[in-house]
Symmetry: C2
DNA sequence: CAGTTATATGCCTTGACAGGCATATAACTG
DNA sequence: CAGTTATATGCCTGTCAAGGCATATAACTG
């Protein structure tokens, strides 16, 4: 966990992860996806790499990035005790849950 | 979601939330729990309030804070599509999962 | 009301990070 | 090798938030 949350706090990095959910992508492809400058995307990718949220593979001239879910698994685990809470106290919370505000 | 991640990125704020999982606590009690200065704790509480992660109740001279899990529910929802990923590709990942690195 | 406890706020400094731009590095092409 | 494409890095700047310290606010006590 630890700094994974900090890394995820950056919206463009989340965009990158979202894009990578569909499969591997080169840096160029990601630049198009998230609409940022190439250097910026590269920097974000570096940060994502440092916390093992992504993985690189060299493919000739390109670097192909891939999502690595492990840190998210840990985040999921961190969430667990809290999950217990809202499952316990599903007072009028249950109603709130089905209101459907899933995305950010 | 949105800035909830940013709020959670701060370790002391997570400490506060952890403490509140056991039940309501006054500011003074939280100061003892997390070992920060009172002004700092109050500021963190303000941030937590702003994203509805906590709730205040006035009790005479004290302010009693309570955890509000709703934003975490949304975080949980945000995680969902990723969860699909690691559930799908439980190649050697399953092994990794049971290695037990749950906390941060 | 004066004093004290509990909490919040304001100001200030410092450090970190995002983002822009230029440039380095590396592979591929003729 | 010269040129081009793909990606990473370095430097610089602005912004913003954490944290410290002092102080304001509010309730409680005698």
């Amino acid at each position: 966990m630890v700094d994974v949350l900090e890394v995820l706090a950056e919206p463009r990095r989340r965009r990158i992860l979202d894009a990578l959910r569909q499969g591997e992508l080169s840096v160029g492809a990601l630049v198009e996806e998230v609409g940022s400058s190439q250097p910026l995307v590269s920097k974000h990718l570096r940060v994502l790499r440092e916390v093992s949220l992504v993985d690189v593979r060299v493919d000739g001239q390109r670097r192909v990035y891939r999502l690595r879910p492990e840190p998210l698994v840990e985040l999921d685990a961190w969430l667990e005790p809290y999950r217990q809470l809202w499952r316990t106290s599903l007072d009028r919370l249950e109603a709130h849950l089905s209101e459907g505000k899933p995305d950010a």
